[in-house]
């Protein structure tokens, strides 16, 4: 029974990975595409690991080796939980700081000034800007006249 539940979770994880891959290819701009990549990294991979843990518990285990496998899987899961979101954050942050604007890129100055507000948006802006003096998107695009949607054409900071 546990093995069936584990297989179902594992299958769900692979589906999420597939959706992430489709999103990575189809979404309209860089920042939206990182969303697809992060889904694969976090929810997809973690569901796969949870599925494997449940599957392992359902296996016959005369020698009690399963616990070791589970501990290894859980530690992999914890490392993924720490590293994947940070990797996604680092990717988005460096793209934003390099002045990757393009169509649909977030304008965090607007987000902070919205009347209904998003909690912590101002802090987010500070994180992204690294605490440096805030330069508006328009002023920045005047300084660095490359607004292409392509990461490769971002100018070196």
């Amino acid at each position: 029974m546990l093995q069936i539940i584990g297989s179902v979770i594992l299958l769900l994880g692979t589906f999420i990975c597939m959706f992430g891959a489709i999103g990575l290819l189809r979404l309209p701009n860089f920042f939206a595409r990182t969303h697809g990549a992060s889904i694969t990294d976090t929810l997809g991979a973690l569901l796969c690991i949870v599925g494997m843990v449940v599957f392992t518990f359902g296996m016959d285990d005369p020698m009690k080796f399963n616990l070791l496998v589970v501990v290894k899987l859980v530690s992999i899961g914890v490392f993924l939980l720490v590293t994947s979101p940070i990797a996604g954050h680092a990717l988005t942050r460096s793209a934003y700081r390099r002045g990757l604007n393009g169509k649909g890129a977030p304008n965090l100055e607007d987000v902070a000034n919205l009347p209904f507000g998003i909690h912590g948006a101002a802090d987010t802006r500070e994180l992204l800007e690294g605490g440096e003096e805030w330069v508006s998107r328009e002023a920045r695009s005047e300084q660095e006249p490359n607004n292409s949607d392509n990461l490769n054409s971002g100018e070196q900071s």
């Binding site: 490392f79 720490v82 590293t83 940070i86 954050h89 680092a90 942050r93 460096s94 994180l127 690294g130 605490g131 440096e132 990461l151 490769n152 070196q156 900071s157």
Partner: protein, 325 residues
């Protein structure tokens, strides 16, 4: 075709695809990233072939440290390949010739897993497999071959690492003081994440170093992982903060210290009445204990040299740049 060999084939196809993509890439930044992917794929291949220790090294050096070094070089130069339409005949000829020779040579290579391959028939391989446990009571044959049977080779390899570090230090030299303009405000999210990971990386490196007798690992792998932890610290914060943890002066002196330790073990064997690097002489009553002690010290020497050489090369590149994040 078995399941594992199917996966192996898929990995090889992916490797070829990535290699072609690197060749076609105009943006050097993307090419560096792809070469990191190439290394990760080869690391996965090594795991499939049960060479976990090689996979460690490939993942840490190929995907980690060398990618970082290449990015730093791009930071110093330009990340665009200069484009020219003219076809250079002579280099093309050499490339085609080399490729043809390599393709011709692969015909003589034994098939994957071929029991009749020369390496499985030679007498030394038999000797290593059958005798190594009796000689040294160390279950990991790779370690005994690397540090004991072929101790001279490994001493040479460690000296090569030392030479590489010395060459980089000579070429890049000491940076001017005003070039220390490092990132003023590192990202707190990345910094905290790295701080959560670094202790575990260091702990795992120590495990790989001192458990090399029993499991996959040894000095090369552990040294590289140790260096990777410090480089992660430098990348997540500032190079300055990493230098406070491992100052350039200390690292500089550690590079020859490792080789010295290795060679000193050899001399110690001579003083005890054996040959150079003949660990049996270290403990005449229990030759296996002598082997244990000798291999442990020698691997430690390798680890120290590899760690400090990697970190030193990183420092040298990092401090040339205007700003490092």
């Amino acid at each position: 075709m078995t399941f594992v060999s199917t996966i192996t084939l898929v990995f090889f196809v992916l490797l070829a695809v990535v290699a072609v993509a690197i060749g076609k890439m105009r943006s050097l930044f993307a090419a560096v990233m792809l070469s990191g992917i190439f290394s990760l794929l080869s690391a996965s291949l090594f795991v499939l072939m049960d060479a976990v220790d090689v996979a460690f090294t490939e993942a840490a050096v190929g995907a980690g440290i060398s990618t970082v070094l290449m990015l730093m070089v791009l930071h110093l130069t330009s990340d665009k390949e200069t484009h020219s339409n003219e076809v250079k005949v002579f280099p093309l000829l050499i490339a085609v010739l080399c490729g043809a020779v390599l393709l011709y040579a692969t015909q003589d290579m034994p098939h994957f897993g071929d029991p009749n391959a020369y390496i499985h028939q030679s007498a030394t391989a038999d000797h290593y497999l059958n005798q190594s446990y009796d000689d040294s009571h160390i279950p990991n044959i790779v370690t005994t071959v690397l540090a004991s049977y072929r101790g001279f080779d490994t001493l040479g390899e460690t000296t090569v690492v030392l030479t590489a570090a010395v060459a980089v230090m000579l070429l890049l030299g000491r940076p001017k003081e005003e070039e220390h303009d490092l990132s003023k405000s590192p990202d707190p999210i990345i910094e905290v994440g790295a701080k959560m990971l670094i202790p575990y990386i260091l702990l795992f490196a120590l495990y790989v170093q001192f458990h090399g007798d029993f499991g996959p690992g040894g000095g090369f792998q552990a040294g590289v992982m140790f260096a990777a932890a410090y480089i992660l610290h430098a990348l997540s914060g500032t190079v300055r903060s990493a230098q406070e943890a491992a100052s350039e002066n200390v690292v500089e002196k550690l590079i020859p210290l490792g080789v010295l330790l290795y060679a000193a073990v050899g001399v110690w064997c001579v003083l005890k009445g054996g040959n150079f690097l003949e660990y049996n002489a270290l403990d005449p009553e229990h030759p296996a204990h002598g082997q244990h002690l000798g291999i442990l010290l020698v691997e430690l020497g390798v680890g120290i040299t590899v760690f400090s050489a990697m970190l030193m090369i990183f420092y040298k590149f990092a401090l040339r740049g205007r700003e490092v994040r």
